[in-house]
């Protein structure tokens, strides 16, 4: 770990009891869902992590429990440091606190994780779908979402599939 990051990780462990992991020189701190707003506030105000460069989620179904990880990548422009935060969330009624008050650019990212993963973001000012049509059902980046909606046509089943296909009129 970079020596400049060590006090940051130590402070997070001290305040929130957070564990951390390292992978190829990247440090990630694991937090509970109710801690994320305070942790972001702390990192922004006291350690100079003034930029949220990424906010996304990962679905580890069916290998891992809890199934979702919400991932925050913070960037310190003054010290040239990066720090990842991970919040594991169980699959039943998944929800996470909004960090929009701390980093306003989280607004659209949080709409995206609601749209794509169905993770509710509590305290969000405008929680709508952002990529899919508003009448869309389901959350497509979940691992249990069906991959395609049409079977591939081969010579042996081309007519069978063609019968169900929708053809428009003029």
């Amino acid at each position: 770990m970079d020596e400049n990051l060590q006090p940051v990780v130590a402070a997070l462990a001290d305040r929130f009891g957070a564990s951390h992991a390292e992978f190829r020189g990247q440090t990630t701190v694991f937090l509970r869902p109710d801690q994320i707003v305070q942790a972001c506030q702390l990192l922004r105000d006291e350690f100079g992590f003034n930029m949220l460069s990424e906010l996304t989620a990962v679905d580890y179904w069916p290998q891992q429990e809890p199934r979702f990880h919400v991932f925050y990548q913070l960037n310190s422009l003054s010290q040239h440091q990066r720090l990842g935060l991970r919040v594991p969330i169980p699959g039943i009624k998944p929800s996470v606190e909004s960090i929009e008050k701390v980093f306003p650019n989280a607004n659209w990212h949080e709409r995206e994780i609601w749209d794509m993963f169905g993770i509710r973001v509590e305290g969000h000012s405008d929680l709508r779908r952002i990529l899919m049509p508003f009448d869309w059902e389901g959350h497509p980046l979940r691992k249990d979402f069906p991959l395609g909606y049409e079977e591939v046509q081969f010579t042996f089943n081309v007519h069978e599939i063609d019968q169900d296909k929708f053809y428009p009129k003029e």
């Binding site: 899919m132 049509p133 869309w136 497509p140 979402f145 069906p146 991959l147 395609g148 909606y149 049409e150 591939v152 046509q153 296909k165 929708f166 053809y167 428009p168 009129k169 003029e170």
Partner: protein, 160 residues
């Protein structure tokens, strides 16, 4: 020296109405700009000087559906784009034609997933499908000439 030569000398040509109308339709068929993905690059190449679609009276790509006769759907159509595409098609004045350019517009291509329409023929009626990923400009021009052939074969009954 038949009667045709005599009338031609006087500046009169006789033909059938169908032939005259279809000639006019095929030789100034203005396509609408509908580049959605990488096929649009090949469509541009077909317009540019090397391939030069203006040889077939198609030098004007219109940005407005109200001024165009032909819609070249170049690229994959996402579910969110589909209502827009249908709306633009409805705004085109009849007679109108559609070419599905490339595998994605014809069948969905490699994008068999939730986001992409499996062939633009689910949304608008398609006259000519051009295969290829993306099709070369020659293939697109061949598709257009195939469409011209189809239009020339149309009779009075189809105009109604």
């Amino acid at each position: 020296m038949g009667i045709e030569q005599r009338t031609a000398d006087m500046g009169i040509i006789t033909t059938s109405l169908e032939q005259a109308v279809n000639w006019a339709r095929t030789n100034a068929m203005w396509p609408m700009l509908f580049g959605l993905a990488c096929c649009a690059i090949e469509m541009m190449a077909a317009q540019a000087s090397n391939y030069d679609m203006s040889r077939f009276g198609m030098e004007l790509m219109r940005a407005s559906p109200r001024q165009s006769d032909l819609m070249i759907v170049a690229g994959r159509v996402s579910r969110k784009m589909a209502p827009v595409l249908r709306r633009l098609y409805d705004q085109m004045p009849a007679p109108k034609w559609v070419i599905a350019m490339g595998d994605c517009a014809s069948t969905g291509g490699v994008f068999n997933n939730y986001a992409v329409i499996q062939g633009v023929d689910e949304v608008v009626p398609v006259d000519v499908y051009v295969a290829g990923c993306p099709p070369r400009p020659e293939a697109l021009i061949h598709g257009i000439l195939t469409l011209h052939e189809k239009v020339r074969g149309e009779g009075l009954k189809k105009w109604s």
